[in-house]
């Protein structure tokens, strides 16, 4: 539905977006996930036409819109700070875009659309209120309603949930997904929050320092990350990282602690990569206490236990490398206790230490 091709944008010396190419398909929620400063907001604003790229093209529905101003691109935009007009009440805020001469809607049409959106977002009782009397969650819903009524071909969201409390965020995520299911809109959403991304996205693009690392469904990104950057951004709690080198046909921690064997094919691939230093990544949920995790068994020292309610995260010191594992069993160890951990080789990823690219 919208295609960004070779987009480049710099601010002074800083390259915000480097040669970005991506496509948002009709009816999907595409989430751009990356840390602050990765270039997500810039990319979104370029898609909207609020910012002009230094080079590259944008096309919507097959037509080139690179030089077309935002008003003509049939988009809606929800800003991180909502940007509601303080002089209008809620109803007029939502109606604002609909009253544009470009859309030519009658007041009855407008009233109907707003009525539908208000009931979807549970804000029908707020329509007469002034915007400054609204709570954070209510303001958020009004901003969403304003975008929803446009029935635009492409809906753009810039971290709409980041200013909300954790609880509100969790609730709104579920509603967001339900709304998308109902309206089948095309959504382009950017965030740094892993939970938001994974719970609502059809596909996720990992953006880091202006570069798009990988685009795929959340499940595929988790099971098959192409680089360390992807693995560290897509996994929550954070993926464990162990520095290692190849010694013969064994991968070892730098201090000559053997970790796992590699067969000849794998060894060949490692040698082909021309790298000497590597990093093994393994998700906390794939490390188990005792021997149940797999055939690779080690011992470490308990550092602390984070109580999360259903889950507990155990921080373990393994030969100087901190590891975290998740378990929902009771853990009766204390600081300094010895603990046995185990995991499977097939649950690990091997990355090159220099550029983070996936090797195995």
């Amino acid at each position: 539905m919208v295609k960004l091709q070779n987009i480049r944008k710099s601010y002074g010396d800083v390259q915000a977006v480097r040669d970005l190419t991506l496509e948002v398909q009709e009816g999907e929620i595409f989430v751009l996930l990356g840390p602050t400063g990765a270039g997500k907001t810039t990319t979104l604003k370029i898609t909207a036409g609020l910012v002009k790229p230094d080079s590259g093209t944008i096309s919507m529905g097959g037509k080139d819109v690179t030089d077309v101003p935002p008003a003509f691109r049939d988009i809606s935009f929800v800003f991180e700070t909502y940007n509601l007009f303080p002089i209008y009440n809620v109803y007029d805020n939502i109606a604002f875009a609909l009253r544009s001469k470009l859309l030519q809607l009658s007041e009855d049409d407008i009233r109907r659309r707003i009525g539908d959106a208000a009931s979807d977002l549970h804000i029908a009782h707020l329509l007469e209120r002034e915007t400054k009397t609204l709570s954070g969650g209510e303001t958020q819903r009004v901003a969403l309603a304003r975008a929803l009524v446009r029935q635009a071909g492409l809906n753009l969201f810039d971290e709409p949930l980041s200013n909300l409390d954790l609880k509100l965020r969790e609730e709104l995520r579920v509603e967001f997904k339900a709304l998308h299911k109902k309206y089948r809109s095309t959504i382009f959403y950017v965030t740094h929050d892993h939970d938001s991304a994974v719970s609502i996205a059809s596909r996720i693009g990992i953006l880091h320092e202006g570069r798009l690392h990988q685009v795929d469904t959340p499940e595929n990104l988790i099971s098959n990350p192409s680089s360390m950057t992807v693995a560290s951004l897509i996994n929550y709690p954070a993926i464990n990282v162990m520095d290692c080198i190849l010694s013969g046909n064994q991968l070892c921690l730098d201090k000559k602690t053997p970790l796992m064997q590699v067969d000849s094919k794998e060894a060949g691939r490692i040698k082909d990569s021309d790298e000497t230093k590597f990093q093994i990544g393994i998700k906390p949920k794939n490390i188990k206490i005792g021997r149940k995790g797999g055939d690779l068994a080690f011992a470490g020292k308990v550092l602390h236990i984070e109580y999360q309610g259903y889950n507990k995260v155990v921080n373990v010191d393994f030969e100087g490398t901190p590891l975290r594992l998740i378990t929902n069993e009771s853990v009766h160890s204390d600081y300094g206790d010895r603990i046995e951990i185990s995991f499977k080789k097939s649950d690990t990823f091997l990355f090159a230490a220099s550029d983070g690219k996936r090797v195995l």
Partner: protein
């Protein structure tokens, strides 16, 4: 190290009761977290303890010493703010030692303390850097270093991680845990993120609308919340709350079916003499199964969507017109029909008006 006591603390802004009669005692060296949604009064309470806001009513004691009239500078407290509040034109080292210089500590002692705190927080390699050059996570570490360098009696933290990216927040949580273990200081931490509260707190104080709802250890608040709001706010996802009505000899779930309770529980429930109440049960104690075994509670439902929250798959389903969550084995059950199954051991009954606990299984 100080014992903090709040007695009938009130802070009003005109007619708005930001803090409405709050009373509690924080023990020496305890790590207490004020947890609640925006506007619940947690930050205001913290600022009253700091002396940055004059109280409207009530008293604050540090170790039996009434401190209401004392300026922040005289309360021997240290504070970490949400937006770091570092002195912009001093470098990291000068920021950290500033409170020591204000106390006119001899410079050999200053060096020693600076060394200790920068080692503890692992910021030795950035001591010479300018604040504006630092990434956010490091800025917060420097703010923390500045706060603890002079061994305050009380350490106050106002949503220190809110401004950071998720990744940093996770890292800093572990750092906080590690540092907290090394220090001997009464700590009061304010946040709206219940994951932080669960990880860090010795005791969590849940607040809403200027009042304390409940306080207790994380595990106890999670497993046995005495108030509906606690069950809702703590835990990711929060507790399911289902309306329950008494129909003759049975208890009926709104939109579901009849509750099957153990005899002991049923007796207690009937003894309550109430027509309706709220049933609370955590999603992880509700299991989705295609077939239900006998004797257990089970209700026929259809899974609308499946959501993965922190490595666990939860299914969303409707009972009546409300959405609830349960545990599922994997994400492939989306759209499937089946049963949601639970034992009554994990059920908690709450009052509909106040949210207080009535009964537990």
């Amino acid at each position: 190290m100080a014992r903090i006591k709040l007695e009938n603390l009130k802070k009003y802004y005109g007619r708005v009761k930001a803090v409405d009669d709050v009373g509690l005692t924080i023990e020496d060296n305890e790590f207490v977290v004020f947890l609640g949604p925006s506007g619940c009064g947690k930050t205001t309470t913290l600022r009253c303890i700091a002396g940055l806001e004059p109280v409207t009513g009530g008293s604050i004691y540090f170790d039996d010493r009434k401190v209401n009239a004392l300026e922040p500078a005289d309360r021997n407290i240290a504070m970490v703010f949400q937006f770091y509040a570092l002195y912009p034109h001093l470098n990291v080292y000068k920021n950290i030692i500033f409170p020591l210089k204000a106390e006119r500590m001899p410079s050999s002692q200053i060096k020693e303390k600076a060394n200790w705190v920068s080692g503890l927080l692992k910021i030795r390699d950035i001591l010479g850097r300018k604040i504006s050059e630092l990434p956010d996570g490091d800025k917060q570490k420097v703010a923390l270093a500045r706060a603890i360098v002079r061994n305050p009696e009380v350490l106050l933290l106002d949503e220190p991680l809110s401004a950071l990216d998720e990744k940093f927040r996770e890292q800093m949580r572990i750092e906080f845990l590690r540092i907290q273990k090394a220090l001997n200081v009464t700590t009061v931490y304010v946040t709206h993120d219940q994951r932080e509260a669960m990880t860090l707190a010795d005791r969590i104080i849940v607040m809403k609308d200027g009042k304390i709802v409940e306080s207790g250890e994380p595990e106890k608040l999670y497993e046995e919340p005495q108030n509906l709001f606690t069950g809702y706010f703590i835990g990711s996802p929060g507790m399911n709350f289902i309306e329950c009505v008494k129909e003759g000899d049975n208890f009926v779930i709104n939109g579901g079916g009849i509750l099957s309770l153990s005899d002991r529980f049923s007796e207690k429930a009937h003894g309550l003499n109430l027509e309706s109440f709220i049933l609370g049960i955590r999603p992880e104690y509700l299991f989705f199964k295609k077939e239900a075994g006998g004797g257990q509670n089970h209700f026929n439902i259809k899974l609308v969507t499946v959501e993965r929250i922190q490595e666990i798959d939860f299914g969303n389903f409707y009972l009546g017109d409300k959405l609830y969550k349960c545990m599922v084995e994997d994400s492939f059950v989306e759209g499937m029909e089946g049963n949601v199954v639970f034992n009554d051991e994990k059920i908690r009954f709450y009052r509909q008006d106040s949210g207080e606990i009535l009964l537990s299984g």
